[in-house]
Symmetry: C2
Subunit: 768 residues, 2 copies
Amino acid sequence: MATLSDIGVAAAINILSAFAFFLAFAILRIQPVNDRVYFPKWYLKGLRCSPLANGAFVSQFVNLDFRSYARFLNWMPAALQMPEPELIDHAGLDSAVYLRIYLLGLKIFVPIAFLAFTIMVPVNWTNNTLEHSGLTFSDIDKLSISNIPNGSLRFWTHLVMAYAFTFWTCYVLKREYEIVASMRLHFLASEQRRPDQFTVLVKNVPPDPDESISELVEHFFLVNHPEHYLSHQVVYNANKLSELVNEKKKIQNWLDYYQNKYERNPSKRPLLKTGFLGLWGESVDAVDFYTAKTERLSRDISLEREKITSNPKSIMAAAFVSFKTRWGAAVCAQTQQCRNPTIWLTEWAPEPRDVYWENLSIPFVFLTIRRLIVAVAFFFLTFFFVIPIAIVQSLANIESIEKALPFLKPIIEVKVIKSFIQGFLPGIALKIFLLFLPTILMIMSKFEGFISLSALERRSASRYYFFQFINVFLGSIITGTAFQQLNNFIHQSTNEIPKTIGASIPMKATFFITYIMVDGWAGVAAEILRLKPLIIYHLKNFFLVKTEKDREEAMDPGTIGFNTGEPQIQLYFLLGLVYAIVTPILLPFIIVFFALAYVVFRHQIINVYNQEYESAAAYWPDVHLRIIVALIVSQLLLMGLLSTKEAASSTPLLITLPVLTIWFHRFCKGRYEPAFVRNPLQEAMMKDTLERAREPNLNLKGFLQNAYIHPVFRSADDDKIHVAMEEWEEEPSLIATKRRSKRSTPLSSKHGGSSFSSPEANKERSKP
Amino acid sequence: MATLSDIGVAAAINILSAFAFFLAFAILRIQPVNDRVYFPKWYLKGLRCSPLANGAFVSQFVNLDFRSYARFLNWMPAALQMPEPELIDHAGLDSAVYLRIYLLGLKIFVPIAFLAFTIMVPVNWTNNTLEHSGLTFSDIDKLSISNIPNGSLRFWTHLVMAYAFTFWTCYVLKREYEIVASMRLHFLASEQRRPDQFTVLVKNVPPDPDESISELVEHFFLVNHPEHYLSHQVVYNANKLSELVNEKKKIQNWLDYYQNKYERNPSKRPLLKTGFLGLWGESVDAVDFYTAKTERLSRDISLEREKITSNPKSIMAAAFVSFKTRWGAAVCAQTQQCRNPTIWLTEWAPEPRDVYWENLSIPFVFLTIRRLIVAVAFFFLTFFFVIPIAIVQSLANIESIEKALPFLKPIIEVKVIKSFIQGFLPGIALKIFLLFLPTILMIMSKFEGFISLSALERRSASRYYFFQFINVFLGSIITGTAFQQLNNFIHQSTNEIPKTIGASIPMKATFFITYIMVDGWAGVAAEILRLKPLIIYHLKNFFLVKTEKDREEAMDPGTIGFNTGEPQIQLYFLLGLVYAIVTPILLPFIIVFFALAYVVFRHQIINVYNQEYESAAAYWPDVHLRIIVALIVSQLLLMGLLSTKEAASSTPLLITLPVLTIWFHRFCKGRYEPAFVRNPLQEAMMKDTLERAREPNLNLKGFLQNAYIHPVFRSADDDKIHVAMEEWEEEPSLIATKRRSKRSTPLSSKHGGSSFSSPEANKERSKP
């Protein structure tokens, strides 16, 4: 058990390292050469231009204004100054609400800590159970519930506190849910006209022998939404094309690299080996090699594009259908279209940049099968992830390395190296796995078939939280792998589980305090330094960048990373709620984390992170749910702990807490969740009416027609789209011909307005 | 343990008693005097008239055609003859699909029994574990899994069978779900125009200081559904009025009784004591007394009606809103109207006769609180229901009776009476409780706030099933009260629970066989005799009936009783699935139950039961879910049983079964459940278009205006409604005046068409 002074030393180390990170950041950020690393958001918004362009040569790269070094912490108040409405405008509602999660932590834990320290700590402290017990103990334990003798009446304090904390948390949660819901509604209402307000995504369009997907969609919606249907946009299966485009980009990078190299040293043409990783094989001229490769790829790309637009099979069984009014779209998104509920599925179209195009045409049956596979895979990942790592570790020990690569033996046998390998290799396998975990979870979500980036991230976040709950939280409290725990739990009685965990909670307090300081304090401080983007940017800058546009591309602003960031915060909520009653000394550490993280991430959101999509805080129900789960876990564990303390009379009182909490959750779900899922008709009608009054001659078709084109087409077809757009207004919107008898050739897409916006039609039209 | 011959004797007794019931039924049903007891459905349909009207006097009451006695079982083929489409037409889809549950039982268990007897029974039989064990055993045990030695490889047979049974059950379930869903959709599509197709129930209309509920509803829907809104109907709080009407009916019965008595014996005017239960107090002339009472009640009723229609406070915050098209109603029912998801809640209006009027105006917050209260109450009811019964039992023993009523002592001390009381009284308390259980559960559902009778019955059914599962199924396997079980389970490890239950399952087979024969065979046969309605009908007939209309009212056709009948069937599904692997000898008994019940209930549905409402088989998802639950329970228990049999290698194979079953359930839920919850727009549009083409001049407003009037008003206002209906067509549908400044007096409801259909308006209009 660590004493208070041990904790003090650890705190000092972590505070110092956090301070060091801040200092390094303060120095690096005011160097003009790093400007694009630390302020990319402003570049993306076009509000800042390169400081390299003017001024003396040296001051282009290094800041020589020494006064600015003195104010090295002034970014903190600056980060706090931007008011919330401006922040929403600047970085989107997602980011602004994300910051509110940290604030929520402060709102919950500051009053709880105050109460705990004024009431509960004195109650704990004024016992001397531990002194009489003969066990070793520290001052921290004297402050905790461990110091209260078994069966003492003082446990009533903890019981009352448990109620107080639960009610306070629920109150804050409810208020926050209310605020976020109204922020979301206000954001959606006050926002500019956006294509997704008018558009619905239709999935699982059934195949039809007589009509193409495009015709079918048009006819279906003209018949079933006759007064509201405006146009539609079919979805092309451009996965291969975008692969090719990505490859071309990579090759182009290499070409740039060698061209730069050649320009700097024109005397020698750079050579390249064509074999594996450029290590062996025939030597060729690198510039020529890559030029040829780029050209070949360009040809492939245009061929592939041709194929996509001419082949009806590359049209996926999904479409974006636009309506004349928001009301029409709201109606279509919320209703069932067809008597078979697995075809003609409609839902709100995600923002165009939020669409995850690859998943748009997975049939219903496959979706359910994929879900089953992912559920099983995730179960094994969570409970058995230790097994493959153990195998890797057993393979990566010294004996097996010596066996496999005998020539390394003399080197390995050196004592320093040997101990290094022994101490380091097993850990590295685990570390690599944990590093790749978010990616693995993301791949799982993608496989599961979500159709927007925001949904992918939300799903990954809940999986990551579950993984952390099992493997970090429970794994630290009850040592042993997750699978061993699972096995224990199955063989333990239901009321033994909270007892086992609850009883070992007070003992792990110091461990978690250290964890919070390392992961929460120093980790958050390291986030602001952005070491990896800094290095990569300078590498790219040196090797690849030729034009200002290249430099733009070399920036890597990153995103908030909801799928990893939010589960981390949730772990702190869990720790705070669990330890609030048991070992209140943990609370100040958590409060410091929330405060620090709030400032740091506010700064990052304002200056660094790029907004990939805007889901208008659609993740809040998840956040709310997880805090509720943490609350219930804390209540169950407290019940387990108290029952080992022979305070059995408290059980009936404690068991009502989770019941009330679950009820509170259901109440909140009914009261606020619809704001995050559905779109009220009243709202839609109000905006429609306003818009009709303000802009009676609005050309909505023109506004919507190219909103939902696959980004691969968008980048290349800018000019062609213009041609198509001009033709729009001349076309009358007529109901196309009805179903005909069998026709074997695919339609030439002359029927109905919608097909004009397809690349196919664009191509035809742009021909002379 | 009962031997095969014991079972044979029990079977003989039950078959004989079933046969006796059938015989009694066969004789009673062909007596003309009982015609209204055994064929009320035909009277209700107006297809049969009283046999008392013509023929010789004796043959009016007794059937003298002795040939008809010979064919006493001919109702069975007759019951089976009516084809399903005709049955749907005759008794509604609910009843027809309800019968399919019995058929489903046959479809599942006949092939399973066949497989079990050809493969598993020989495997079990050819061991002699039991003979060597030295335990007492019966032939039944020799057929069961108990006869297989621990750790035997023969368990693989059971494992394969478990898979086969699961797949077969799932296959049948899926096919049935598909058929029922398409039956429902076909029924809804082919049905006549019904008011609920066009109508949506709006709950939680927010209060408004400026406008009455009626105006508010009209304005809201005129603004938000401008092209589809037709009219609306406010809901009056007529609970007190209907109480008064019911009381008047009761008093009227007494009045009739005494008038009849007086007519039969005009020499003596019947007297009545006014005190408690007519046992003491002043004697008065009964006819005069009740005549005065009826008159007073009539006055009260008209006063109350006046009050309701003139007082705006008696208008509840709910309304039935009708639309011009089915499409408009489908849209409104499926969408969220307002940004606050707890007001302006819309849902499909239930059928007019299905509406449960009392619950129409419970605010959202109260609903969630009520739900919590009912959940907690139901938990205690299920697990602690034994406690109050035990208290009653302890009060109702001989000593306490003697203490309370000492003068009874000599009677009680008689040996026969004493043993009767001792043996009978404790049982009677339990029996009374179980008799009232469905009523208690129904009251709970009503308190919870469901707004249609069908929903009330569905909810009661699931509660009743849960209660039976805990107290009949588990309670019989592990003897002890539910609370003791709960306590055991909490203190047992998670994998011990299926083991404990699983291990005692084979031992309880004979008990359940007896249970099936008593409850399933003889009970179902008793159902057809309708002893209680028979007696009550003849009593009423003798004392109250004067006119043909009175006789009509004396009939008590009853209903299917979904809330008690369906859970009973589900218990048999559970028993069948659980014992299919363990003791297959139980299966034939279950098959006989399903076959017998199918015939009996088909007969009852055709000839007896009245259809209270038509929910178009909305209960099928519940039925499906409960069979799935039974399947999963059977799999878990088999796992527990096999693990005690040292067939541990089967666990991983068995654990995939529940996973697959749950996945199957989720697949079915996604695939078929929407057909039971939502209404596809395509369907609605199709019917609208057809109707427009067929009846272009349809007066929909006239059709809809009085559909959703509280039945209390309906019965009395028949003539007034006619007046109102005529005025309808003259009224133009104009958009009412917009919101005005403060106005303190309630509106006189002259604005908009909707208010004309209110009783208030009717009354005003019917005045000279």
